[in-house]
Amino acid sequence: MNRISKFQLVSLLLIGDVFALFCISGSISAMTAAGFAAGSILQLVTAMPLVYLYSRGSSPASCGRAVKLLLLAGVLTWGGSLFAMLRQASSVIYIPYENKGIWGSIAVAGLIALVCVYISSSGIKALARSGVIAAALGAVCIAIVVVSAVLHSEPEALASAEGRSFSGELLRGFALSGGVGSFAVLLGFTDDDVSDSAVLYFICKAVISALVILTAVLVTGGIMDVSGFPAAMAAQLSQPFPVQRIDSLFLIVFSVFAVYSVAVQASAAEYLIGVTFPEMKKFRCTAALLIMAAAGLFPFRISDHTAISAAAAALILLAAPAEHLIRKGALKKREV
């Protein structure tokens, strides 16, 4: 049985969320941290009907075709966004050949896709097991950056950094979590209690989002205007060791998180393609990755379309319960 534990589920999903935070662009402030944390809690509330549905034995496979297609579209779009984020963030994270024009971008995206195909083809269990190790590596890296930021930062940067209003940041926090599609799929794979898993995920997400954003604000507060990617720049600026830079550690974690974020979306998409188009037996993962990589070449930024992205995230979380209610209503009507 391809079942995963709640800790494996949370690790896989958090990798994608933290990677999105690494690639966050534009100015951020303490309000952003509060907005993102509140956004995660709001997502938990929005996800409750879905969690309830799954806890009663339902799964993505038992949903209607329209819901499956919606989930698939959400997963593929978020996968494409991850590729786009990677391409955009590579201006501050040095990836050889990435800045050599369109062919460089295609080569890097192709390499990531190749590794993702391998990872996804190894099965959800292998992905979950290795994802936990990758997440642990990331946690160590984040801890080093946080410690360094706390030691070297100026607390007044928290107050000086300018950001949007709370409602604006809440919307951005809700929108930047396009991983809700994979959450809706992978939640069906957990062999632990579904509601426990969901609560653990959203709470961890709220805490980590706030931590990463606050660290980035503390380090880059004074130069926020010139930092395109505050979280990535914070990692470059906070150096805990006087004789050795730790950017290398961040670059490794960034690349590993990029691969796992895409691999999670690819696995979710592969599963959804399998249950939506059962006649398609082969190349499901390859097809999903090709679509994602191609989508990643478009200059699309989620942060530029927060309202649309937030609405899409809410739709993905509510689609299955809504469909269930409609079906139930129709059944009752027929009985009457």
Binding site: V115, S122, R129, D247, Y260
Partner: protein
Amino acid sequence: MTRNERGKLRLLPELEASIAMIKKLSGGSSDVLINEFTTGGVRCCLLSCEGMMSSQTAAEMVLAPLTEIEEQSGAEELFGYISTHLLLSCDRPTAEDYDTLFRLINSGFAVLIADGADTALAFGVQGYASRGVQEPSGEGNIMGSHEGFTETVRTNMSMLRRRLKSPELVMELSVKGSKSRTDICLCYMRDRVPEKLLERIKRSLSEAQPESVLSTGYIRPFLEKRSFELFSTTGITERPDVLCSKLIEGRVAVLVDGVPYAIIIPRLFCESFHTLDDYAFKPYYAVFSRWLRYAAFLIAVLLPAVYAAIVMYHPELLNSTMLILLADAEKNAPLPILVEAFFVLLMYEVIREAGVRLPKPVGGSVSIISGLIIGDAAVKSGLVSTPLLTITALAVLGGFAVPDLQPQITVLRLCFLAAGGIMGLFGISLLACAVLTNICAAEDYGFPFTAPFSPFKRQGMGDTAFRLGMRKMQRRGFTVEAYNEQDK
């Protein structure tokens, strides 16, 4: 000629015809000894294989008593008398077909056939030349036993029995290999082994139909699943004490005749970093040694790749002193760093291979010539930079700390070097993801290779990341079943 229910040719009751059949089946092989004689008034023949039995034991324990048997009415009575009145040897199997008869003869038994009998009596008088018990050459140990397995399966079985006198230790002998007819012995502790694990291993063994079993490598693939795995999910050891500790944990072992190694199933990744000395020293030192071995593994695999990646693509990560030092050393080297690193690593592999294959005295000379003369000359001539040589030496040294993983380290080191040299740290990260997934995907008989780290199993951490005190370890009654994911 009749065949039994297994399709084997049954023994012929007429002595002449039976001897003719034996000669025909053996193709007149010179080492099959056929001695006809009459005892108890019945015409008999003693069959044996030259060099496989002890002549002295056979003469004293079998031939002398056999020739002194009083008159019997027929072959059946003669065999009845031998079975009930004479204890010629402890191991007394019987053969009803020529297949079994030849297996016994070729295993060092003296086999008695008689005119009018359709069965044969065999007497264990094995006495073939074999290597004595010696210190294991590959699994060094400071505080433990200095005995290693030998090539004789029965000696190896006795070594296990000497250490585990409990009747729960079961050793089941069987034969594998349609041509080699090799004895293999399945060992397990009846009260510790997970039933389903034993059942699945027995099924895998029964499905395995190799032609010959000349080393553990001939049978291990049949015990592992077919998908591509970098690391082996079955382990080997040449130490009986190590094998006993594994059996107590509920694992299953396979001993193969002619091979001084035992196969252990299942095996976990973390076990490559354990040694028996870990249990002889204080826990704090054992923990230190284990983590040192984990670090050595990472150094062995990644150090040359990280060096090439940083020098070629990320020099800004170096502090100024280090940068000047490396730049100074590398500017005089004629080859690009990636080519230079490949050259040094491949040269090392050639030297190692030469040292292993050559006779020991010559192997020592190879080390001296390569290490002192070629290494020194390469640096002095400027062909190879000193920092790169130092990095390579450190990586190779790191690999020696984990001898179990030597093949994987060698290949992975070269792959990571290529990834780091072409794509920098980004390439190393991508390859690391693929390798990590490959390791995590390995799972045989329901036991994940990466347990207890991922999936995390708290019960297993007491003897993995840490090492509990011996009192606690002996009390906890841990078995490998705690890692099972398939049957929970």
